[in-house]
Subunit: 161 residues, 2 copies
């Protein structure tokens, strides 16, 4: 119901109808949906649930990570995360800083911190990233990832204590 | 693109306004506006036209560059670019890869390549970045920067040839 409301409110904004309190409720629903979504990203990474993770991405997703060109499309993103999950044990927490809704597009940014530990052994790396996601509302009201960019908050990755 | 079309069609049905050719024209106009905007970014950087550059940013702009925390607000972005323009001679070219419109929000991503040369002397750095911008349409129709993130396409900056 909240998600339906969010859809209706989003559409209302586009049509220049509706009122401020309805829009505030829609935005609040999106913020909660984003909190749940990024918590799912963290769970999937921790449990190496690749299919779960990919279920939150659109087919035309583009991942924009540092140190390499854009990873375009779900097949390429699948391959990237398959390698990532195979190479590292991941314990990350995404924390949304702000979430804004523009009809069926939701923009959210935040920080993602934690550790990634090479499966092959060696020191864990302390990760301190920020991210910017563009999500698209689906016909069933859920939000899926369309564009995802991230980079480091510091100069270089630090060895975890 | 299919999802964008679905979004546009869904909104049109709900609002019962606009037609496909008008929407295609709008998207095409935004693509051209973005090409002009990023060309202006390059000109401003080359000419160290800080005020010109800042005129394309909203007061609540957030710049999300690698190696440091989010730079929040126009005053902080001004200080950042003031230092950057003072420290480097900049010869960059932004090339949009895709631009999509969601009402008054426009999402564009692309690559930005070129060189930055320390004013104090020393080797120029070859820059090969990708970027993701969220722009907001203003009452006069112009697009201004609301969120701007970038990171490197390669592992480390290379000395320019």
């Amino acid at each position: 119901m909240k998600l339906l409301l969010a859809f209706v409110v989003g559409s209302a904004v586009l049509c220049s109808v509706g009122n401020a309190s309805e829009r505030a409720e829609g935005a609040s629903a999106d913020r909660e949906a984003v909190r749940q979504l990024v918590a799912e990203f963290d769970r999937c990474a921790r449990e190496k649930d690749l299919e779960g993770f990919l279920s939150y991405s659109l087919d035309d997703v583009v991942a924009l990570g540092p140190g390499e060109a854009a990873v375009v499309g779900k097949a390429a993103v699948r391959a990237w995360y398959q390698n990532f999950y195979a190479a590292f044990d991941i314990a990350m927490v995404h924390r949304p800083v702000e979430t804004d809704s523009f009809g069926d597009l939701v923009i959210t940014r935040g920080d993602a911190t934690g550790t990634i530990r090479p499966v092959a052994g060696g020191e864990a790396l302390q990760v301190d990233n920020k991210y910017l996601f563009a999500l698209k509302r689906q016909p069933n009201g859920s939000l899926k990832v369309w564009r995802a960019m991230f980079n480091a908050n510091g100069q270089t990755p630090q060895a975890a204590k």
